[in-house]
């Protein structure tokens, strides 16, 4: 009986949190278009979410590209079709791995930090202080992060895709001797704008999801069921935020792929 009760509670709590998160999005949209505009805050967040993730993205991008090159070469060689290696790598990266891996990296790097930062600000009354100074915390704290995520993640995804393609190039052409022409041209022939567009749409949605969920978790830490408003509470919501946004990314990846 207790298990059912706790399951029921969990469902209700999740619904409540989802609703709260969506409301936050609406509030953010409503607030950000009102002056004073937070231009510098947005730039700062783009720096934090985007620019500082560059090294991670490039390293993982090259690595994934190399892994793909390796695995596809392995398989394609058996069918004698190694010349489509370029298109195989490019399509996998552009449509799936680029957006998803980038989003997951951003969750780990920036998402957890955002959640923790907002959580601690809430606990130490900094959010209250903002409110009492007639500075709306949704506009000043949350909105710049969400907008920065919406801008940074697609950009990071493009960078990831490019370096991954080069990673595959390195493995295929340099290491395994696939002809350069067939790699590059195979890629150019096979990839069409709708592939790039799909990856881009995914990355926009992922960027929004990740920043929104991580912001909401931290910002509303005082409403969370964990109760404890201290170090333990912060670590709880942060891990929660990472898990939930990762799952959201994977799930919406499927949805978008199915719809588009």
């Amino acid at each position: 009986m207790k298990t059912i009760e706790s399951m029921g509670n969990a469902v209700l709590s999740s619904l409540e949190q989802t609703g709260r998160t969506l409301l936050l999005l609406l509030i953010v949209v409503y607030r950000i278009v009102q002056p004073p505009y937070q231009f510098y805050a947005i730039v700062r967040q783009i720096y934090f979410i985007g620019a500082r993730s560059l090294s991670v993205i490039i390293i993982s991008g090259v690595t994934i590209g190399m892994v793909l090159g390796l695995q596809f070469y392995n398989t394609l060689e058996r069918f004698g079709s190694v010349d489509i290696l370029g298109s195989a790598v490019a399509l996998s990266v552009l449509r799936e791995l680029g957006p998803v891996m980038t989003a997951l990296m951003v969750v780990g790097r920036a998402g957890s930090a955002i959640c923790a930062e907002l959580g601690i600000m809430r606990i130490s009354e900094q959010v209250d202080a903002l409110e009492c100074m007639a500075i709306n915390p949704d506009k000043y704290l949350v909105a710049p992060k969400v907008i920065a995520g919406l801008i940074s993640v697609p950009l990071l995804t493009c960078i990831f895709s490019v370096v991954a393609i080069f990673g595959g190039y390195f493995v295929g052409v340099v290491l395994f001797g696939v002809s350069e022409g067939s790699y590059i041209n195979g890629m150019i022939d096979a990839v069409v704008w709708s592939d790039v567009r799909l990856g881009l749409v995914k990355s926009f949605i992922f960027g929004l999801l990740v920043t929104l969920i991580c912001c909401a978790k931290g910002f509303y830490i005082h409403l969370s069921k964990s109760g404890s408003l201290g170090a333990e509470g912060v670590s709880y919501v942060t891990t929660d935020a990472v898990v939930i946004s990762s799952i959201a990314v994977l799930f919406s990846d499927f949805l978008i792929g199915a719809i588009l």
């Binding site: 510098y40 730039v43 700062r44 783009i46 720096y47 985007g50 620019a51 560059l54 079709s81 490019a90 552009l94 801008i151 940074s152 697609p154 950009l155 990071l156 493009c158 960078i159 895709s161 490019v162 393609i165 890629m187 150019i188 022939d189 096979a190 990839v191 069409v192 704008w193 709708s194 592939d195 790039v196 881009l200």
Partner: protein, 149 residues
């Protein structure tokens, strides 16, 4: 991290990102934002199964154009394909536009086989000789039912 530094790095990051995007879009996907010099031709097919907008148009194995759009004519039950042919490529009046497959399981593309007439097609004209997409299943089922009958 002072203000100027942050803005500089952020700006560089954004530029880098946009460059990557441009590389992907233009070089890899072949999207053109400025219309490349060339002209449009149309062609009608009974079946374009598998052909997509943006597909390659080949002549003598070389890329000479792109499929702009594919529409459906409900009255004649045919597919109308808009083709953008690159500048300088000459297509005769009796040339054939055939839908072919790359390899066995590859993507569909349009192959232009040159004709013998002297008159050339210009912007907006239609290629009358067409060969529709060959579907593997139809071939196989034709073969099967031929041998049975």
């Amino acid at each position: 991290m002072n203000k100027i530094n942050i803005q500089l790095v952020t700006g560089m990051f954004v530029v880098f990102g946009i460059l990557s995007f441009s590389y992907l879009a233009v070089t890899v996907a072949g999207a053109s934002f400025i219309e490349q010099p060339g002209y449009n031709l149309t062609a009608r097919f009974t079946s374009v199964s598998g052909l997509r907008p943006g597909a390659v148009i080949e002549g003598a194995g070389v890329r000479i154009g792109t499929v702009s759009s594919i529409d459906f004519d409900p009255e004649s039950f045919e597919a109308i394909v808009e083709m953008r042919i690159n500048e300088g490529v000459l297509v005769q009046e009796d040339a054939i536009a055939a839908i072919r497959t790359q390899g066995i399981i590859g993507e569909k593309y349009i192959k232009i086989v040159p004709g013998g007439f002297e008159e050339l097609l210009t912007d907006g004209m239609e290629v009358y000789e067409t060969e529709s997409a060959i579907s593997l299943e139809e071939l196989v089922s034709r073969y099967i039912f031929q041998t049975e009958g």
